[in-house]
């Protein structure tokens, strides 16, 4: 617990330092604003009234008051101006500046960490937490930090004022202190526990909600009775929430009542009684002091409440900053800006040597895998669902490093190359492709593009078999994809999007092309044409296909069958068929129906 506290303090300081580096003016101004805020508050409740009542009791002339009020108004005039300068200029302008700087910092980091960070759920969750509204939360953390510091000073100052007026009055502060630090803390704990217990039910609610409005569930809701199931889930979670609420009912209510009584009633009414006793019975207090002491009492109670709130918030902020800090201080295993030699664009060979790999450090997905590809040839990787084909591609692209063994390019370990340059050797079309909200030409070249690129883009689109569709669009290759920013943006079907992604590979000069199920959403004719075009445009490129449609991989120079965590069969299609192993079995199963007809034909002949 103590260690955690230390941690929280360190994190808060880290946040202040960080914001100071990005935007010192904001940190300084936030501090001054907080300070001025408390000064104004203390002045108003401690001096402003006190002075007036004091003047009245001592029969000061009206001029005295006019001068006094004018001076006070002038002071406020200046303070207010400063506040509003902050609110109207400093805050809006610098918040955006922080958004920009921090955004760039976080994005660069996010793009520099290895892919694993995105695929490891725990890391990813922490990281999205860190990214979520990072700018405002960082500023808020600094704001609360000042709140804690000046809140503490203001609380002490208010006690001193009270003490000055009446030595014993300050003792009444004990009530709100108890209320805040004993009962409010207990309430906080109850709240925390209750939320924790309710979380599971709330998650259920959120889930039902999602199922009920997301398009992907709409069909099933209409065709089946799954709605009833969801309704039941919803009712269950509601019962759960009620039960949790009930569980904390007694403890919560008692603490709440005690907290309010101590924080507000005891101090306030107690003070009134004490004050009026001193004024009326023992006559040791003058009326002006009585007036001030009551308003001072209210003020110090609220200052105290705000101080404890700030402390609690600061604590939460500390936990949040922890995520941010961990993320920024995370040391990349494979940083994207990994330095090394520049690889040659000529591919002689790519080799996997006894490669082992596991995502979780426990179970190997790939074990002792070896394979060799030579430049300018065509390879196919086939295997069952879940055999690890996509993992192999990720290793090849160095999204991950093998846990043991090595991957060689032209005889050198790929770790020796500069990562960016190494990746440039590859053009990939993934199964789970993403299109960006940018023009079609930019989506194909994946960079900013001008008219000069027209030829390349159009050729790539033609080869991918989607040019006809694109030329039908209002702005042709300049049409913006998705409706994110453009009302007239194009939304393409699954098959069309897949073709756009394949066009990326056509437009690139990379030495190696990797196609991961490029035709899964295509009809047979389109599929045939696509493969035809890929082979026709092969030139000197090295090709690697992953496909379940074995007819499309049989022309490869070499087929690798991935199963049982390694390459179990390798050779040309014919060789593998002769081998009569898993590949042959797979191929025959798939071909059975097609072959049946050809047998029929033969018979007919």
């Amino acid at each position: 617990m103590k260690k955690e506290k230390n941690h929280v303090i360190k994190n808060n300081l880290y946040a202040v330092k960080m914001l100071f580096k990005i935007c010192p003016a904001l940190v300084i101004n936030k501090g001054f604003v907080k300070m001025a805020d408390y000064v104004e508050w203390l002045f108003y409740s401690g001096f402003y009234m006190r002075f007036i009542v004091y003047g009245l009791e001592n029969g000061k002339s009206y001029d005295f008051f006019v001068i006094y009020l004018s001076v006070a108004a002038l002071v406020y005039m200046i303070i207010e101006l400063y506040f509003l300068y902050n609110q109207g200029y400093i805050d809006p302008v610098f918040t955006n500046k922080v958004n920009d700087e921090l955004g760039k910092l976080l994005f660069s980091k996010a793009q520099n960490v290895e892919l694993r960070c995105f695929e490891d759920t725990e890391f990813y969750n922490r990281y999205t937490l860190a990214m979520d509204k990072a700018d405002t939360r960082l500023i808020e953390t600094v704001d609360t930090f000042w709140g804690v510091i000046f809140g503490f000073i203001a609380a002490i100052a208010s006690f001193v004022f009270l003490f000055q007026i009446d030595k014993f009055a300050v003792l009444f502060v004990i009530f709100p202190i108890i209320g805040n630090f004993v009962f409010n803390r207990k309430l906080g704990m109850i709240d925390y526990e209750r939320n924790k217990e309710m979380a599971v039910h709330n998650r259920k609610n959120a889930y039902v909600n999602r199922v009920m409005y997301m398009t992907e569930y709409a069909k099933e809701i209409r065709l089946t009775d799954v709605f009833k199931l969801m309704k039941k889930r919803f009712s269950e979670s509601m019962e759960g929430i009620s039960a949790v609420a009930k569980k904390y009912k007694g403890r919560g209510a008692i603490n709440h009542i005690l907290r309010c009584s101590f924080t507000f009633s005891f101090i306030f009414e107690g003070m009134l009684i004490y004050g009026s006793y001193r004024t009326l019975v023992s006559k040791t207090m003058i009326a002006s002091e009585l007036a001030v002491i009551t308003s001072m009492m209210v003020a110090s109670t609220w200052i105290l409440i705000e101080f404890t709130d700030s402390c609690m918030k600061s604590y939460q902020n500390g936990l949040y900053i922890d995520n941010l800090r961990n993320f920024l201080e995370y040391e990349e295993v494979i940083p994207e800006d990994y330095a090394g030699d520049k690889p040659s664009e000529m591919i002689e060979s790519i080799e996997f040597k006894n490669v082992c790999f596991s995502y979780d450090g426990k179970e190997n997905i790939i074990e002792n895998l070896s394979l060799k590809m030579e430049g300018s040839k065509t390879y196919a990787l086939v295997g069952y669902n879940g055999a690890g084909k996509s993992t192999l591609i990720k290793l090849l692209l160095r999204f991950y490093d093998p846990s043991s063994g090595e991957i060689l390019l032209n005889g050198r370990n790929i770790k020796e190359y500069e990562l960016k340059e190494y990746r440039k050797l590859f053009a990939c079309a993934f199964q789970d492709h993403m299109l960006f909200s940018a023009s079609i030409r930019e989506n194909i070249l994946m960079r900013e593009s001008t008219k000069e690129d027209d030829e390349t883009v159009i050729k790539a689109l033609k080869n991918a078999g989607v040019y006809d569709k694109v030329s039908e669009l209002p702005d042709g290759i300049d049409t913006i994809m998705t409706k994110e920013f453009d009302e007239n943006g194009a939304i393409l079907s699954g098959g069309e999007s897949q073709k756009i992604v394949v066009a990326r590979a056509f437009a690139s000069n990379a030495s190696v092309n990797v196609f991961d199920e490029p035709s899964s959403a295509l009809d047979p004719i389109a599929e045939y044409e696509l493969f035809d075009n890929i082979i026709r445009n092969k030139e000197k490129k090295t090709m690697l296909f992953i496909s379940h449609r074995l007819s499309s991989v049989k022309d490869a120079d070499r087929v690798f069958l991935l199963s049982d965590k390694g390459i179990t069969e390798t050779g040309t299609h014919e060789e593998l068929m002769r081998l009569n192993g898993k590949y042959a079995n797979m191929y025959r199963k798939q071909a059975e129906n097609y072959l049946a007809i050809s047998m029929g034909k033969e018979e007919a002949v």
Binding site: L56, L69, K104, L229
Partner: protein
């Protein structure tokens, strides 16, 4: 205005029906809160100061203060239960009261509503905002009651002690309204200007941190640079826009906060009060202190009340959406209609044409088709030829724009849709796993009696037929295994292929007369595909089957193959017939089969 009120009454009725006591308490609580502040801080302090100023006996002050203390603690007591129990319990119920209605509506909404982005966005927004709408309404009630309580209590106090205070507050208030309007306009205009830029900014940040984009960005760092540039440009413009309005904004805020607030009600009114006390001697100083202190309250109450129309209007907009959503009458009526007889019956499509919306192009043109009971129909064609749409019409997820679909000689519109759907087992390309037990995931229904052995047996059988047996045996909790890690950390996330098998088991379980399959094997490896096809072949039995696939090897055994092109049936017949015809189907077949054939030869 009228609409705003009627909307809120509509919402009140729903909420009040769900939790009448709670809703009344919400009103009372707002009143209690402000009233007790008034009693404590205005009446209490004034009385004590009075006693001090006019040297009344201590006992009088003591008794009054003790009464106040007693009253406050008394009113705190139910508040403890309100904050710590009722609120926790009833607020979710209030949300649920509204959501139950919305979900029920969502489940019977025409599927076409989902295709209309405008309608769908509104729908998503109203679901997403429904909780906040309730919150805003409760807040509104709270503000209204608080404002009125202060206005009445403090107002009476001012009238009885010194009415001039009201004048100061009123002047400040009405001038504030004018300047506030100007400030709001300024902020609103700015927001309009900045909004698209912020969207751009958010888009970039989403791309940067969503895992879907991670791979692409790593392979194409130039794309990253382009996006970062756009991000910075957007921010630069936002900062420029903010700077541009800052002087005017500060000025307006200054007038509002300092001139109209501090200066008029704090300084000038104070000067006036002091004049009355020190020069005219018409007012005791205890009254002056209390009066000066209360202007803030009075001002606040006016602000509460003056904010209400705008806030109510905003909230009303959301209620409007919810109401119009709830009032939507689905074209496809789910509840009424005739029973559907069990057993295989014939299908007939008569001159069916279809377009998704009035503006969109026609997807199917004048399709006529007769399907005999138990016939196996394969639907093939290019991407975008209308295969899936045709299937959707058969299932009555949509009604045809023209023509009719007959089942057993009757327009399917005449049947009770639920019962009609009960006759169908459907496997889509895009299916979902639900956060429920495996058993429930197969039945897709709320099962009361989970230990029903017969049911369990049927589910197990269905899973076996879809090739899930081995996996089932490996599950510790068998059919009770919770699926997805959505809200059970012990839950199991099945792989794509496994999920597909569960989805297929659903169709087997249903004992349907009609089986509809839309590319069920697209994600499977050849062996899994082969096994699935075999299983489906067996399951089909004497059922009527509709099968969509790009892989012609899986459809060739169909009794009849329907080839669609651009929304028309261009060829129809058995595999052999179509090959003989040597048309488009034959072309497609040869393209796919040639490479396998070459092997055989």
């Amino acid at each position: 205005m009228k609409r705003t009120i009627s909307n809120h009454i509509f919402l009140w009725k729903i909420l009040f029906k769900e939790a009448p006591f709670y809703m009344l308490y919400v009103l009372y609580n707002a009143f209690r809160y402000q009233f007790m502040i008034f009693v404590e801080h205005t009446l209490g302090i004034r009385y004590v100061l009075h006693c001090a100023e006019y040297h009344e006996p201590f006992n009088k002050a003591l008794i009054v203060v003790l009464i106040i203390l007693f009253l406050t603690i008394l009113t705190f007591t139910p508040d403890g239960f309100f904050q710590q129990y009722w609120m926790q319990k009833y607020k979710p119920r209030l949300y649920k009261a509204l959501k139950d209605r919305m979900y029920a509506k969502a489940s019977e909404l025409d599927l076409s509503c989902y295709d209309n982005p405008e309608y769908y966005n509104e729908f998503v927004l109203s679901v997403a905002e429904s909780e906040k709408t309730v919150d805003r309404f409760l807040e509104l009630l709270d503000f209204a009651v608080q404002g009125i309580t202060i206005l009445i209590s403090s107002g009476i106090f001012y009238l009885l002690t010194d009415w001039t205070g009201i004048v100061f507050v009123a002047v400040s208030f009405f001038l504030s309204l004018i300047f506030n309007k100007m400030l709001n306009k300024l902020n609103y205009d700015l927001r309009l200007k900045v909004n698209p830029l912020e969207r751009k900014r958010n888009y970039v940040s989403r791309v940067m941190y969503l895992r879907d984009f991670a791979k692409e960005l790593r392979l194409h760092p130039e794309m990253k640079d382009k996006l970062l540039k756009e991000f910075s440009e957007a921010n630069d413009i936002i900062i420029k826009d903010q700077k541009k309005v800052s002087f005017k904004r500060i000025l307006l805020m200054y007038i509002l906060r300092f001139v109209l607030n501090t200066l008029i009600t704090d300084a000038l009114y104070m000067a006036f009060l002091l004049y009355k006390v020190a020069v005219l001697h018409k007012l005791g100083y205890s009254d002056a202190i209390v009066l000066a202190g209360r202007t803030g309250d009075l001002r606040r109450s006016m602000r509460y009340i003056s904010d209400i129309p705008a806030k109510a209007k905003e909230n009303s907009m959301y209620i409007d959406k919810i109401r119009s959503f709830l009032a939507y009458e689905p074209v496809i009526d789910k509840e009424n209609g005739e029973d559907v007889e069990k057993g295989c019956k014939s299908f007939e499509l008569k001159n069916v044409s279809f377009r998704y919306t009035e503006e969109s192009p026609e997807i199917l043109h004048n399709i006529s088709l007769k399907v005999n009971p138990g016939e196996k129909i394969a639907i093939v064609g290019y991407n975008g030829s209308g295969k899936t749409t045709l299937i959707k019409l058969l299932m009555r997820l949509y009604d045809p724009t023209e023509g009719e679909v007959l089942y057993d000689g009757k327009d399917i519109k005449d049947y009770d849709l639920r019962k009609y759907h009960d006759r169908m087992g459907v496997v889509f390309q895009d299916f979902n796993m639900y956060g429920a037990s495996l058993l429930e995931n197969v039945c897709l229904d709320d099962i009361e009696d989970k230990d029903n052995e017969e049911l369990k047996e049927n589910v197990t059988k269905a899973l076996k037929r879809s090739g899930f047996s081995d996996r089932l045996a490996s599950l510790e909790n068998g059919l009770d295994t919770s699926v997805t890690t959505e809200f059970d950390e012990e839950g199991v996330d099945f792989s794509g292929g496994e999920s597909q098998k569960v989805a297929i088991a659903r169709a087997f379980f249903k004992d349907a007369d009609i089986l509809i399959m839309d590319e069920p094997s697209s994600a499977l490896d050849p062996i899994a595909e082969y096994n699935l096809n075999k299983a489906m072949h067996e399951a089909a039995g004497d059922k009527t089957v509709f099968y969509i696939s790009h892989r012609l090897s899986t459809t060739r055994d169909a009794d009849r193959i329907i080839m669609l092109e651009k929304g028309r049936i261009i060829e129809e017949g058995s595999h052999d017939e179509l090959l003989k015809k040597n048309g488009k189907y034959a072309e497609m077949w040869h393209v796919q089969a040639s490479r396998y054939e070459a092997e055989a030869v």
